[in-house]
Amino acid sequence: MLIPLGFWAAAGAGGGAAAGAYELIATGIGTGSSNQIIFSSLPAGYKHLQLRMVVGSTLGYEQGSSMAIQFNGDTSGNYTFHQMAGNGSGVNASAGTGQDGAYFGYISIPNNPVSVAVIDILDAFSTVKNKTVRNFNGYAWTSQNISLRSNLWSNTAALTQIRVFEANSNNLSTRSRVSLYGIKG
């Protein structure tokens, strides 16, 4: 059964879709000279946020590393996590408190960012709830990893800023991108 999409795609492209509950807020592209992408002055009108990303660094060799997220400039130990992860051989679970960000693993491959993540931030603008982050990320290379992670930011402030950064200070490659979407509720 063949579904030719030329017509369908033309009808849906170019922003012709009606207003909906899921909207692009901004996309950040790696510069090659910075390890971070920051979304600030987050707009009102959304209930939840979603980050979608493909990331790699400018390292000239293959290396496992970590990405992290911080909210509202908070670099203190106000983040907690639970994780389950598979590496092709087995599944392990872990947890931690007092973290200085919401971390997740990625692999840097020269000129080929293959690590991806879809991250949900629930009730991002609530002023009565601590913030819960749901992280789904992975990569399939000669080494591989698939991970489900939940993070808690112990702060009831509404989000005003999201910093996404390479946790070992390696610069994000120009083939990296992080897109932020707002979900209305």
Partner: protein, 173 residues
Amino acid sequence: MPVGVSAYVPLANLTVATTAASVTFSSISQSYRDLVLVIMSRDTTASVVTTQFMRVNNVSSGNLYSNIFMQGSSGGATSSAQNSQNEWGIGFSFGSIASSGIYATNTYNFMDYSATDKHKTVLAKNDAADVSNGGTRTTALRYADNSAITTINVLPAATFAAGSTFALYGVTS
């Protein structure tokens, strides 16, 4: 990006009327950042649960497909990886002897599918929820080629059964 415009755009929607030997989305617009493919499927294979396969761009050679998954089932939590295959075989379909009216669910996020400067990585959730069969699976897949994805081929173990649905969405950049 105009404010107030949906970033999640339906591109195609198919319900299998009788059976289908395969389902192919072709000439996919390159105007989006990601694709999301949502499948609910049954297969005519005489089993309770069976495998659903996938290729892109009609490519079935060259050993370009790899994946890693983590799965929970009645057998416990396991992880497995398959490298350098000629297709991905990690999706679920319920087979013909499964209870009627139940369909396996598979959601695939094709990240940066239209890029031509990187391999393509897909994040997937595959679930076959039955009382004593199936499992829940989270998966990362890679297509080891920089070509943009213009076609997605979804393949059954035997044929897709009536009522199986396939919905493709574009996520705006």
